[in-house]
Amino acid sequence: MAWFKRTDKGIKTATEEKKDTPDGLWFKTPKGNIIHTRELKNNSFVCPDDDYHVKIGSKEYFEILFDGNNFKELDKNMKSGDPLKFVDSKPYNARIEATIQKTELNDAVRTGVGKMNGFDIVISCMDFNFIGGSMGSVVGEKIARAIDYSLKNKIPFLMISKSGGARMMEAGFSLMQMAKTSAKLALLDKAGIPYISLLTDPTTGGVTASYAMLGDFNIAEPGALIGFAGPRVIRETIGKDLPKGFQSSEFVLEHGFLDFIIDRRQLKNRLTTLLKLLNN
């Protein structure tokens, strides 16, 4: 016999009624400590208590890496088309429009050209907020043009990946972006211009199987999920639970596919050291 009776069964908030929590002043770390958001930002969005790397986007990475947050953005206004008139639970172009409104981003990657501790650098950085950081025509084209810029101006290229993989709504077009970006990287490789690929949480699918794994240096933030197939798919394939730490940065390093893991607070300086060593 219950003490009281709930009249409504379960919690029934429809998806469209759910609200994003507004950015407050306080941040609760995974350990449960409450810290001021300014403190978090000053710590490169790494929780001071357990070094957990909070997921951030291009805006934050550019702030961290470009001197004085000064950079020139390339192809800022490029937007997605809808070549296949794709419709699932809603039409693709409506999804794109809604996502642009919500995220104030035009697609899942942004490119900036600027200086990092005085070194010229081209940085393309993915935004996971934009349809899971999925790679469609815009992502492929913007990365291709970023590499073109690197090639033309002989400036090192840094790619910061954060993506669930190829964007299904552009089907065959998305698939060919893997080819396009790899083609440009083949040219960069031939020209001998350094390409650093930074893999952040998460980097999976077609992104892992193209530009993210093609760096002269493949590096990652600690504790990121990195893989080709997603953990759920693998679990279903092998019919067993996955070992602890499977597909983490540390796991991928151990198996020889990363050059090193880097704490975000040291990212700018370590990258600078690397460029300096390549330059001298």
Binding site: M78, V87, M168, L175, A183, A212, M213
Partner: protein, 315 residues
């Protein structure tokens, strides 16, 4: 094994056989009836196969009787020597390759291989290659480049294998490297989707100067089933997903994502394997003739240019 839309045709064919047997056994003249039934079958076949839905083409691409890579290779070559192993881990039996000659010209073949029965299917891992398969493919392609032999890849995979060891050995890195390296191959590269062309697993051996699809195959970023399970959260929308993905040969050609379609015999490749192989062979020879005229550096530039022009966006 018959697919749902093959059944009405098979029923009529059975009837035709009975009629022929009857005419022969009882020594009666049924030639007029036989002729009319034969005409009827032909019309039904045409109607059926010219109006296949996208999902039905996916089903045909996976037909249990469909010819696989090695079937075609043995059919179109005089000599063929299979080459094994990635020289690092093992020999991936889902990815095959070797040197063979077509009308006296040596070609390096690379392709995914499926199995015909349960035992073979397991051995071939259902045509799902591991990283060592992609590395074996690249080793063979580099060897072809060294000896100046053109490359023909035959693509037929439900995807790169999503297993635990595949992740440990760098499935993503293996495919990525193939993409980059294939762009720089100095020899002509012809890629043909002969069955299923699922995502990165297919693309990993599909960077070519000419990319063809057989008429009843599919090529996309994801299978209709997986697309259905992700976007509709159920496996039941695979037909809808197949429509949305626009994954058939004619869709892909229309969107300029492939270079050409290779026609199949009426009823599909499995209905007349010998003729299918003949068409495949003449397509390869014709493409080689065209590619031979272009200088290697130019071929590489054109290969890169072609893939770099793919994509739709507003600038």
């Amino acid at each position: 094994m018959l697919l749902e839309f093959e059944k009405p045709i098979a029923d009529l064919e059975l009837k035709l056989q009975e009629m022929k047997d009857l005419a022969k056994g009882r020594n009666i003249d049924l030639s007029a009836d036989i002729q009319s039934l034969e005409d009827k079958i032909q019309i039904l076949k045409k109607e059926t196969f010219q109006n296949l839905t996208r999902w039905q083409r996916v089903q045909l691409s996976r037909h249990a009787d469909r010819p696989y890579a090695l079937d075609y290779i043995y059919e179109i070559t005089n000599d063929f020597i299979e080459i094994h192993g990635d020289r690092t881990v093992k020999d991936d039996k889902a990815m095959i390759g070797g040197l063979g000659d077509i009308d006296g010209r040596t070609v390096m073949f690379v392709g995914q291989q499926k199995g015909r029965n349960t035992k073979q299917r397991q051995e071939r891992n259902f045509g799902m290659a591991n990283p060592e398969g992609y590395r074996k493919a690249l080793r063979l392609m580099k060897m072809a480049e060294k000896f100046g032999k053109p490359i023909v890849t035959l693509i037929d995979t439900p995807g790169a294998f999503p297993g635990l060891e595949a992740e440990e050995r760098g499935q993503g890195e293996a495919i990525a490297k193939n993409l980059r390296e294939m762009f720089m191959l100095k020899v002509p590269v012809i890629c043909i989707i002969i069955g299923e062309g699922a995502s990165g697993g297919a693309l990993g051996i599909a960077i070519g100067d000419k990319v063809f699809m057989l008429e009843n195959t599919w090529y996309s970023v994801i299978s209709p089933e997986s697309c259905s399970s992700i976007l509709w959260r159920s496996w039941d929308y695979k037909e809808q997903a197949a429509e949305a993905l626009k994954l058939t040969a004619s869709d892909m050609k229309k969107n300029a994502l492939i270079d050409g379609i290779i026609e199949e015999p009426l009823g599909g490749a499995h209905k007349d394997m010998k003729n299918m192989a003949k068409t495949l062979k003449s397509t390869i020879l014709e493409a080689l003739k065209e590619l031979d005229k272009v200088k290697p550096e130019k071929r590489i530039d054109q290969r890169i240019e072609k893939f770099c022009s793919m994509g739709v966006f507003e600038d």
